[in-house]
């Protein structure tokens, strides 16, 4: 574990775990276990306060890049991959995991996966223009996959279950944000959606509502108790919708799109993306607006230099000579992390885009800390 050089107090912890992008990460319910994707493996760490995460299991049954991971309330891990498969990993008492292959019946990569709140079914988004809703069939010891196809026109990027476990929000590269019903006979009860403002009947696969954004939807999340959905798109917007009012939209102050979002409370959302640091938005009477940056890089060169404490940078105080001061090691490190060589010293905890944010700590219905993973192979925990 290392702490960011940043003076910003919002960074609680930085874990540099792997030398590859982390596309997805997830903590278990009690935050004692952390699963991250690393190329074709899923690495499972044990986490305790103030010590670095300890690797205790490597889940390696996939043979192409793992695109998403999620942990259910019962501790089961589900992974999905570009190899078109999903695995459910059942924790055993000796600390290992028993894999079960889930036949998704799709012919393109799986892109996202998310457990339903009750932990008895999950949804997988894919490039096959299909959402596979999978549930366990006890008598046959088998995960069954049912498809939602229409009217999806392109890759599904993101999925989110409503707390009732029936409504499923999905966004993708066709520029549509949609809400489907993921009702499974014999698993869900009609009572769970009784009185829902979204409709009367919820047969499986039924399209409940859709919104056209016109650009890739990167992430979506329900705020169930308010019957609202927030999503971020590649046009650099954060949008909030509900079952009746028009879309409320707010632009990213830096213009760079967000890849992920988390609801902090009923009126605050934190987003993270290509600007490499989280941004907080809040709702006021006039609508949603930018509230503050967390761990924002400081563009003031002199202060950044003193903060960095990096000796091989100290020789330069103008742009040209600072390029001279870069050691070969640092140069290749930068190539590795950012895909480019820059003269900037590290300012924010993430050195490349944030791809996923998750709630980390909560008190009184308010999220107090979020965790993030990025293309730089780091896990960062922020205080809001």
């Amino acid at each position: 574990m290392s702490f960011s050089n940043s003076k910003d107090k919002s960074v609680v912890a930085v874990y540099k775990l792997v030398k590859a992008p982390i596309y997805s990460h997830c903590f278990s319910q009690d935050k004692s276990i952390l699963a991250v994707t690393c190329e074709t493996d899923c690495l499972v760490y044990r986490v305790s306060n103030n010590t670095p995460p300890v690797l205790f299991a490597t889940l390696k049954d996939h043979d192409k890049t793992i695109t998403a991971v999620d942990i259910s309330i019962h501790g089961r891990i589900v992974t999905c991959s570009q190899d078109r498969n999903a695995y459910v990993w059942e924790p055993l008492s000796d600390g290992t995991y028993k894999p079960t292959l889930v036949l998704l019946r799709i012919n393109r990569a799986a892109t996202s996966v998310t457990w339903a709140p009750n932990g008895y079914k999950f949804a997988v988004g894919s490039s096959a223009r299909i959402i596979a809703v999978c549930y366990y069939e006890h008598e046959n010891n088998w995960w069954v996959s049912k498809h939602i196809k229409k009217p999806i026109k392109s890759t599904i990027n993101c999925l989110s279950w409503h707390a009732n476990g029936v409504l499923l929000a999905a966004g993708g590269t066709d520029g549509f944000m949609r809400v489907f019903s993921g009702f499974i006979k014999g698993l869900d009860s009609k009572e769970s959606v009784a009185g829902s403002p979204w409709g009367q009947k919820f047969p499986f696969g039924c399209l409940i509502r859709e919104w056209y954004q016109g650009s890739y939807i990167h992430d979506v999340e329900w705020r169930s108790q308010m019957e609202r959905i927030a999503y971020v798109a590649h046009d650099g917007t954060l949008n909030v919708v509900d079952y009746q009012s028009p879309v409320q939209s707010v632009n990213a102050p830096e213009g760079l799109p967000y890849r992920s979002l988390v609801w902090i409370n009923d009126h605050e959302i934190v987003c993270g993306g290509y600007s490499c640091h989280p941004v907080l938005f809040s709702e006021a009477s006039e609508g949603w607006k930018f509230a503050k940056n967390l761990d924002k890089s400081d563009n003031n060169k002199s202060s950044a230099l003193t903060a960095s404490g990096n000796t091989d940078e100290l020789s330069g105080n103008n742009d040209e000579s600072s390029t001279f001061g870069i050691s070969a090691l640092r140069k290749f490190k930068e190539l590795d992390l950012k895909g480019k060589v820059s003269t900037d010293v590290q300012e924010s905890a993430h050195e490349n885009a944030i791809v996923e944010l998750r709630p980390f700590a909560e008190s009184n219905g308010q999220i107090t800390q979020v965790s993030s993973c990025g293309l730089d192979g780091k896990i960062v925990i922020y205080t809001i």
């Binding site: 008598e139 046959n140 069954v144 049912k146 196809k149 229409k150 006979k185 047969p203």
Partner: protein, 148 residues
Amino acid sequence: SNLYKIGTETRNKIKKFRTSTARTDSIKALSIKIEPKPSYEIIVDEDEQEELDEIEDLSELAEILPDNSPRFVLTAYPTTTKDGFKQTPLVLVYWKPMTVVSQEWKMLYAGALEMIREECGTFKLIEVSSGLEDDSDVEELREQLENC
């Protein structure tokens, strides 16, 4: 020495369905299932039948029929021929969605097919393996039924 058993009650239900639907104006369906080991009895599932009695369109079948087991659905589907005659052919729909994983169930239903056909007295058979997940699957079945 037949594996399957069929009682008079089920036979009567099939007979009643055949006669009562001869001149029906709306779609009617009778769900026939096989009881698991050890009885292997062929019965009409009451709960499923209650729901089936209320359907108005083919697209509703997928909601009622199970994902994890095949079924035989005796269907009366009213159509109008090219000459303008109204007719209601009895068609046996063999429901076997891809989501059925139990080999035992698949074999059990496959083995009973001929017997059920005999009992139902129809040789019009349509196999549905799509699970009717898509609108196009429903349309395909509709076309097949109309051409029966």
